[in-house]
């Protein structure tokens, strides 16, 4: 009885082995059909945290700044922006230039203050108004955007810190997804009484900026 059961099992095992072998042969025969190769890459579910985010933009700039009645000089500085959404960004900037002599200083032949550096900082809000593509010749197209920007800050000028309002506009061109070249025009307005009477000075600025997104 026992050996009978055993032989049934044995037959089952041999039978399944033969069938298995046959199915392997059948697969071999199908090999002429186009093969579907499963890519040997581990596929995990998407985690938002693992995606590289590039919402910050660090910028260095050089340019010229004309401080009303105090001549035009080179200006340089740095900016750091955070992109809030596709249209808005907040940007902090610091910059420095030198000021020349005002017409009154030249007239009386005396300098009214010693430190001829003008340093400013500002925190501004930018608005990407006109996004699109710019064409360089017939074959090259780059992403670009025209933006408006304005904000508040402080200007150290003539041994004094002054409340400063700024506004301007700029054009940003993207040679790659992470690098931008910006041409920007800004006006910095602050009140000063360095020339005896209180008046609002304009600091007109034109800059060439190189930005990197990270």
């Amino acid at each position: 009885m026992e050996s009978g059961i055993r032989s049934i099992f044995l037959a089952g095992v041999i039978g399944s082995a033969l069938l298995g072998g046959a199915s392997v042969h059948a697969q071999d025969a199908d090999n002429n059909a186009p093969q579907v190769i499963e890519p040997n890459v581990e596929r995990r579910d998407v985690t938002a945290g693992a995606i590289d985010t590039e919402n910050f933009e660090v910028t260095g700039f050089i340019g010229i700044m004309s401080v009303e009645d105090f001549e035009t000089n080179a200006v340089y500085g740095a900016r750091l922006a955070y992109h809030i959404n596709e249209s808005l960004f907040a940007e902090a900037a610091i910059g420095q230039t030198k000021v020349g002599e005002s017409s009154l200083e030249k007239f009386v032949n005396e300098k009214f203050f010693d430190d001829r550096n003008l340093t400013y900082y500002d925190i501004s809000l930018g608005w990407n108004v006109l996004p699109g593509e710019s064409f360089l010749g017939q074959k090259r197209a780059y992403n670009s955007v025209f933006y408006l920007i304005g904000g508040l800050g402080s200007t150290d000028f003539a041994d004094d810190s002054n409340f400063t309002v700024n506004f301007g506009f700029g054009f940003k061109l993207f040679p790659t997804d992470s690098i931008a070249i910006r041409l920007e025009a800004r006006d910095y307005l602050f009140d000063t009484d360095v020339n005896a009477e209180e008046k609002t000075l304009h600091g007109m600025q034109g800059t060439l900026n190189v930005s990197w997104f990270f």
């Binding site: 995990r44 998407v46 693992a50 995606i51 985010t53 919402n55 596709e86 593509e133 002054n162």
Partner: protein, 245 residues
Amino acid sequence: MRIRWLTFCLYLIGATSAVAAADIQYVLVADPYIEMHTGPAAGYPITHVVERDNEIGIKKRRTDWFLIVDSTGKEGWVSKSQLEQTLQPSGTKVDFPDAGLAEYDQHRWEIGLMAGDFGGATSYTGYGSYGFSRHLSVEFKASQILGNFSDGWSAAINLTHTFVPEWRVSPFFSLGTGIINIEPKANLAQTTDRSDQVAIVGAGLKGYLSRRFMVRLEYDGYVVLSSRNDNEDVDEWKAGFAVFF
């Protein structure tokens, strides 16, 4: 020698791009098609579409736009709303949850900037805050004061109580102390710089804006504990934005 350098550089570039490739995450397009823009905003033109059942790789994100690469190697920017209609390898929809009101209710840290009026002068304030609990937090504030006759700065530490943190807009109350330094303008040089201790009582409103942003309106009453006979009272009104996390 130059060739060896070149090979080395190429090897480095290869190595970094291999690292970058490892970061790409793959999803399957489930909508009829997905639109690829040249840049991360709706205003940039659509140059390609990827059809349903094709796989795309997500390379990076800027605001609510994602740089993706399709199976032919074409790259383009896809909006978050479209990407959230794609399927993950497990078959479930992709989800990129933004910080919301729930996170605002539970947040610990705040960093913000405010601008306002300090007794007739303009003031800028930067602050950082850490919450011990949902209601109670400690705040560090630094201000620059720009006046017509004098400039200055102040630094203060405050204890703030937010009454109803689960509300979208909640009132708060604060008590603090610090120092204030006032420098008269250079052309009014008969007085000297003054540093004094201050006591501050404040109240205001904190409001949740969107994502990780909040808005803050605040009144602070300063009592300047000067070395002269009279203490000086200064009112400060300010408004600003903050991020929380």
